[in-house]
């Protein structure tokens, strides 16, 4: 990805990243000559692509931890294998030049998303109890699936009935 300031015929430089919203990331680029700024929005799938390839916008992270992609992206991984992302962020923030805290920002975007946006949806007590019975490693996926089914079908409350309907929609049993 490269950006050209058409006015100045100058390559724009990566400048900043704004707080992520619902899995998407916004990157700001600036023309070093006329200081014009542009914003680039990555949708959740594009953000996902970078994460999947273990690539960072705005520069490399020199303090990459061993197996950091697997350990941070594996939903069904062991607790003790989660990498120490904090020290990694500090490392990249203090780095010079093109380095930026993008790793942390993209990770944050996902941490936010791992508790999916509820968008005004509420769960009844028995629906929540049923959710608890789903094996822990498929629960986040199942929850996401039920919520998106509810949203798509205009429900504001998730109860046992909505769960029954949603069940036909994807493979997890609950």
């Amino acid at each position: 990805m490269k950006f050209l300031c058409i006015e100045c015929e100058t390559a724009m430089k990566f400048k900043d990243v704004t707080r992520p919203e619902q899995g998407s990331v916004t990157a700001v680029f600036e023309c070093p000559d006329c200081f014009t700024e542009i914003a680039m929005f990555l949708n959740p799938s594009e953000t996902q692509m970078l994460k999947s390839l273990d690539l960072k916008l705005g520069g490399t992270n020199e303090t990459a931890q061993p197996m950091q992609m697997v350990r941070s992206q594996l939903q069904t991984g062991k607790e003790d294998s989660v990498p120490n992302i904090t020290s990694q962020i500090e490392g990249s923030e203090t780095a010079e030049g093109g380095k930026c805290p993008f790793t942390s920002v993209i990770s944050e975007a996902y941490e936010e998303e791992s508790e999916p946006e509820t968008d005004g949806l509420s769960w009844t007590q028995d629906a929540l109890e049923r959710l608890e019975r789903i094996p822990s490693f498929v629960r986040p996926m199942a929850k996401m699936g039920i919520e998106s089914y509810a949203k798509d079908n205009g429900h504001t409350e998730i109860n046992a009935e909505v769960m029954d309907q949603a069940r036909g929609n994807f493979p997890a049993q609950f």
Binding site: L4, A11, P44, Q75
Partner: protein, 295 residues
């Protein structure tokens, strides 16, 4: 207006540099490994993992230093077969310390990273759809990290137990340009051979990977009462006629081999004098012969 090529870099992200750095990490790690061998098959269930773990054990029993990568990310079995399923990985600044078997074989497997026995491999993603779309990319990333981030140190042999089929082999070749070659495992049935020929063609003709040879597994069955050998499948001399490659070994079917795989003590370690062990040793000798002829 300037074109893409005229702009100096990608605004500071240096994506190409990042990809190059990933590749460099793998190459550096493998620079102290003498031979890297991928174990492949056409179909699943023909005994790839059983052959990998026993060949690794036979090499270790002969005094070689050996590592095994369980490249079957979604169907990992190596950690169980080699008795290291309960091992904990240790993460250091230099990399990941692998699980180590009683014979000193270094093992890395997805099994060592998963939280529960019945947990499947699921990746974080914004949506379920994304998780499945990017699955294969994540798997290749995992494989890259398994190979490049494990502290193998000096190894004579690094074996990769691939998932069934030849799909993953293309990724392995890309990750390991120095791959020594492929060992193909098959069983003497027409169905298996039909599929395995596709994999061999892919390996040799499309990916240009040397084929070290073919292992015929479950070749025959030795009767425990009379000691006679009986073929298990109809097609008994299929391997020689179907392939122009060295037949590395013919491993008989032995229920004890399956029991050993389940118990986590490799067959060749537990029953070194049985017929199947002799066949595994013969396979190892032929693999060594292949490398000796090269040097």
């Amino acid at each position: 207006m300037k074109s893409y090529k005229e702009l100096p870099d990608d605004a500071g992200s240096n994506i190409v540099g990042q990809v190059t750095a990933q590749a460099k990490r793998v190459n550096q790690r493998l620079s102290s490994v003498k031979h890297t061998i991928a174990v492949m098959s056409g179909k699943g269930g023909v005994g790839k993992s059983a052959v990998t773990s026993n060949v690794a054990t036979a090499l270790a029993l002969q005094g070689f230093s050996v590592g095994v990568v369980d490249a079957d990310i979604n169907g990992p079995t190596i950690a169980k077969m080699m008795g290291v399923r309960k091992s904990k990985l240790e993460y250091t600044s230099a990399g990941v310390k692998p699980a180590i078997t009683s014979l000193g074989i270094k093992v890395i497997s997805m099994d060592l990273l998963l939280s529960e026995d019945d947990a499947p491999v699921l990746w974080n993603a914004h949506s379920q759809k994304d998780a499945f779309t990017w699955r294969s990319t994540m798997e290749v990333g995992a494989l890259r990290e398994f190979i490049g981030d494990t502290e193998w140190e000096e190894l004579d042999y690094l074996l990769l137990d691939l998932p069934p089929g030849s799909e993953r082999l293309a990724n392995v070749v890309e990750l390991i340009p120095s791959l020594s070659g492929v060992v193909v495992v098959t069983i003497p049935s027409d169905v298996s051979q039909l599929i395995v020929k596709k994999s061999v063609t892919m390996a040799r003709d499309v990916l240009n990977v040397p084929i070290i040879g073919v292992v015929e597994n479950m070749s025959y069955y030795v009767c425990h009462h009379c000691g006679e050998s009986e073929p298990l499948f109809s097609n008994d001399d299929a391997v020689e006629s179907a392939f122009q490659f060295t037949l590395l070994g013919k491993i008989p079917f032995d229920p004890k081999l399956s029991q050993c795989n389940d118990s986590g003590v490799p067959y060749i370690q537990q029953h070194p004098n049985n017929q199947a062990s002799e066949a595994i040793v013969a396979t190892v000798e032929n693999i060594k012969k292949y490398f000796n002829a090269l040097s």
